[in-house]
């Protein structure tokens, strides 16, 4: 149906779609988690905040799980190298995620205030740590990470956890945290009323302006960071072999794609436009539309990182020739094709029934609603 090169490109796009889907869906849950201790000051207020995402967080988290599964299936070498290399960062994400299912389900089952406030902080950690670490991970990918392959393609990572926390990567972590904070704030403002909605809107303004600054700062900083460049001839349709090419670090390489295909500038422009629109729409009280604008902002920010690095996925700083790219990290054509069809069939269904679930649960979550359903609500 498709040749190997096309399939590799399709999967670059599809992994992007899954990551953006994760940011839009699970991201707003996480943003709400970050806001929980401030947006809700009393127990009932906190229950209002939690119940805006209560019926949906579990379905949304599957974007993350499926994204992971898709990377495993489509880019096994990335899955292997990134997860084992970023060992403690991944475990920190995992341990933070532990708090979410139990936090949501267990918190309101017992009335003791200490019990509830413990889980509230758990939900805060579960919403705060993963976005921060994902941003930090992207920040490190943009700088290259120290790993190499031996002749049997076993990966060896030579960095440390603490080295991941360098200033540029932390700035990227800030970008990722602020974008999801803004996104979650808009969702919360949309689903609540009165004082909680007002606090959520205030958070949107702070996060939105912070995001515009941080994203710009990261872009400027990136001009000072060496990108990576393939210096040998590459056959995109060839069998994947990450050791078959030569790679060099080169200043400005992360901007080469924008020079070669000027229309790709639309991607960072989308990030800015989405963010500004989302801010204006929130101010105008049109939180539903603001959520959509903010979704485009997320697509723009994530897309900017992806387009800047293309075709690189995971450059190696210690042995650039071992870098992983779209062309040499992919699965076999058969696996890519089967996964493509599976995604094509199931993704529309997922969007359809997720949409239905939100429709069923639509409307503002109010304090009266919580008090009326205190035995069944989260």
């Amino acid at each position: 149906m498709f040749d190997y090169e096309t399939l590799k490109l399709i999967w670059w796009l599809l992994v992007g779609v899954l990551l953006i889907g994760f940011a839009i869906m699970d991201g707003h849950d996480m943003g709400v988690g970050m806001l929980l201790p401030w947006a809700g000051r009393s127990d009932v207020e906190r229950r209002v905040v939690i119940n805006t995402v209560g019926p949906h967080w579990d379905g949304n988290q599957v974007w993350f799980i499926t994204g992971g599964g898709a990377i495993f299936a489509a880019w096994p070498l990335i899955y292997a190298t990134a997860f084992s290399g970023f060992y403690w960062a991944m475990l920190a994400v995992l341990f933070a995620l532990f708090f979410r299912p139990v936090g949501f389900d267990y918190r309101s089952k017992i009335a003791d205030p200490r019990w509830r406030s413990t889980w509230d902080w758990g939900l805060f950690i579960g919403g705060t740590v993963p976005p921060l670490i994902f941003g930090v991970a992207f920040g490190n990918l943009l700088q290259g990470v120290p790993f190499h392959f031996d002749s049997m393609l076993m990966s060896h990572y030579t960095g440390s956890f603490w080295a991941l926390l360098n200033p540029f990567a932390l700035l990227c972590g800030l970008v990722s945290s602020l974008m999801l904070l803004m996104h979650g704030g808009i969702y919360l403002a949309h689903r609540t009323e009165g004082v909680i909605a007002a606090r959520a809107r205030a958070a949107v303004y702070v996060a939105g302006l912070g995001l515009l600054l941080a994203f710009s700062a990261a872009g400027l900083w990136l001009t000072r960071i060496d990108g990576y460049l393939i210096t040998s001839l590459i056959d995109p349709g060839a069998l994947p072999d990450p050791l078959a090419k030569t790679v060099e670090r080169s200043p400005g390489a992360w901007f080469a794609n924008y020079r070669a295909w000027p229309w790709t500038i639309a991607v960072p422009v989308l990030a800015y436009t989405g963010a500004v629109l989302a801010l204006l729409l929130t101010r105008a009280g049109r939180t539903g539309l603001a959520f959509i604008a903010s979704a485009f902002m997320l697509a723009g920010v994530i897309g900017t990182a992806a387009v800047s690095m293309f075709p690189f996925l995971m450059p190696s700083s210690s042995m650039p020739n071992s870098s992983l790219t779209v062309w040499d990290s992919a699965s076999s054509p058969l696996t890519l094709a089967i996964m493509f069809w599976a995604t094509l069939i199931f993704m529309p269904l997922i969007i359809l029934y997720t949409g239905w679930a939100y429709r069923v649960m639509r409307g503002k979550v109010t304090a009266e609603h919580i008090e009326h359903n205190s035995h069944s609500a989260y």
């Binding site: 949906h56 799980i65 495993f72 096994p76 990134a82 991944m90 475990l91 139990v102 949501f104 089967i338």
Partner: protein, 517 residues
């Protein structure tokens, strides 16, 4: 060389986290259908007690489900974090079912579980029942894809090694999906889940009946659990036997070990009901045998032989010797892709590549392996017999005990006597932990029995790990054990608390102990 300690710790961590995960999965798999049954009765009869049953048992289901979700992500993560070479080497095949599980099943169950809990007032009765059914279907499909992935580890069909990409690649997707090992495992595993769900409801209902509280609620729950449990336990035993019959080589090795069959017996082989396996002398010190039975179970015939451990080892010795040639020629090919002589040699011995790789545990230069190393590798191809033998027998014993229990429970329910048979209620109550023990033993037999491989005959466990330091492993083990202990304490506390509160915890005003909440 990969340190043996790293491999052992990685295995320990996976074993702990996987077995812990499976404390929650079987209950989810089974209870979700009990919820469907209860709610269907509610929709058909309109009796509100069935709605309350769905909601109360649903509450306990939710407490359990939360930890199932929490601990499931750990397993997905660990393939990347701790089994990096495995992920690279077989991700082309193994990753696909995991991703499809997410797309086809996990989205379904996770989206509809939200509506199951929060949609009662917003959906019509049939709509809500549909939501519950979709949640059940999603849960069970999820198990299907995971077991397809696991079945492929036991019997790696539909894939081939590619020396240029240095990994296994998919050649036939439908062979992977319809892998007989996977299908047998799926039906056996979900049935075991159904038994677990039934036992859970049966035991707690028995406790209410013993205490004489919420009797009508408890009797109805007991009845549904008894009927569902009886059907499920029959299926678990019949289908478990079916999974013994599948013909894969991994299964032969496992069967020889778990039946402690050292020598190949003339067909039809006798069954060792009880024996005392002696690893050092490679024989049983004593055994109580039933003639013919093993041959009938294992081959469904009176004439086919079942290979014993010693015969399997001899066959494996030849494969290791041939595998050495495969590894050597692969190394030459990796250095020079144009080496046609090496390619021809490799093609001839490729099927035994995995067996050659077994020697990597003892030496980096497989070609220079000493006879002692080869002997060690040969011995390592059979898992230790005694743990397999006893784990299997304990699992089967529990299965038959539960068959008797559910049969009596169903019979007494049909006669309308279940609330008055106190011995039966006590037996039901005290049998509560048994299905979990049986499930864990079953997984032990399946996974320990596949050693020394992660992918049988293809990839040794030893080579599958990530190149991490041992210190990392100690750190993460401490983290997992700490978190998981805490979570288990919290979960058990809530479970016991809500089971004690009973249906009164719904706050409907129809049940006892409402004030206690």
């Amino acid at each position: 060389m990969i340190s043996e300690q790293l491999v052992d710790l990685s295995r320990l961590q996976f074993a702990i986290t996987a077995m812990y995960h499976f404390l929650f999965v079987p209950l989810t798999l089974g209870m979700v259908w009990l919820l469907v049954i209860m709610e269907a009765v509610y929709v058909m009869t309109g009796k509100v007690v069935y709605k309350d049953m769905t909601r109360f048992w649903g509450k306990l289901f939710g407490i359990n489900f939360a930890l199932g979700v929490t601990t499931g992500i750990t397993l997905e993560f660990q393939f990347g974090t701790n089994w990096a070479y495995y992920s690279h080497y077989v991700g082309d095949i193994f990753g696909a079912p995991l991703a499809i599980e997410g797309l086809m099943a996990f989205f379904l169950e996770s989206t509809f579980i939200g509506l199951f809990f929060f949609g009662w007032d917003r959906l019509s009765k049939p709509q809500h029942l549909l939501v519950t059914i979709l949640m059940a279907v999603g849960t069970n499909l999820s198990a299907l894809w995971i077991l397809i992935a696991n079945g492929w580890m036991q019997n790696p069909v539909g894939a081939e090694f590619n020396f240029e990409t240095m990994r296994m690649e998919l050649t036939d997707f439908w062979a992977v999906v319809f892998n007989p090992d996977a299908q047998a495992k799926f039906v056996h595993t979900v049935s075991a889940g159904y038994v677990t769900g039934a036992m859970f409801v049966l035991s707690i209902s028995a406790w209410y009946l013993l205490k004489g509280r919420d009797v009508e609620f408890a009797k109805r729950s007991f009845r549904i659990a008894a009927a569902f449990g009886l059907a499920s336990v029959c299926s678990v035993i019949v289908l478990g036997d079916e999974s013994g019959y599948t013909v894969g080589e991994a299964q032969q090795t496992k069967m020889a070990a778990l039946e402690a069959m050292w020598e190949t017996e003339p067909a039809p082989a006798p069954f060792n009901l009880i024996a005392w396996p002696n690893e050092a002398e490679q024989k049983n010190d004593w055994a109580v045998q039933i003639p013919w039975v093993m041959g009938l179970i294992g081959t469904r015939s009176v004439s086919k032989q079942i290979p014993g451990i010693l015969e399997i080892k001899e066959k494996n010795r030849h494969r290791i010797l041939s595998g050495i040639v495969a590894v050597k020629s692969l190394e030459r090919l990796r250095a020079n892709r144009e080496d046609t002589e090496a390619l021809a040699l490799f093609e001839r011995h490729k099927a035994d590549l995995g067996f050659g790789l077994l020697l990597r545990k003892y030496t980096t230069d497989v070609g220079a392996a000493t006879p002692e190393m080869i002997q060690q590798a040969v011995d390592s191809t059979i898992p230790r017999v005694a743990p397999m033998f006893w784990a299997f027998r304990a699992m089967v014993g529990i299965g038959f005990w539960m068959l008797a229990l559910f049969a009596f429970a169903a019979w007494q329910t049909v006669r309308g006597q279940c609330a008055h048979r106190r011995w039966l209620l006590h037996a039901a109550l005290w049998s509560l932990p048994l299905p979990w023990i049986a499930c864990e033993l079953g997984w032990f037999v399946a996974e320990y029995g596949r050693q020394p491989w992660t992918i049988y005959g293809v990839l040794p466990t030893h080579l599958s790990v990530s190149t991490l330091s041992v210190g990392n492993l100690y750190g993460s083990l401490v983290g997992f054990i700490g978190f998981y202990t805490l979570l288990l304490v919290v979960e058990m506390y809530l479970m016991v608390r809500f089971a004690r509160l009973g249906p009164g915890s719904l706050g409907t005003g129809r049940y006892q102990f409402e004030a206690a909440h």
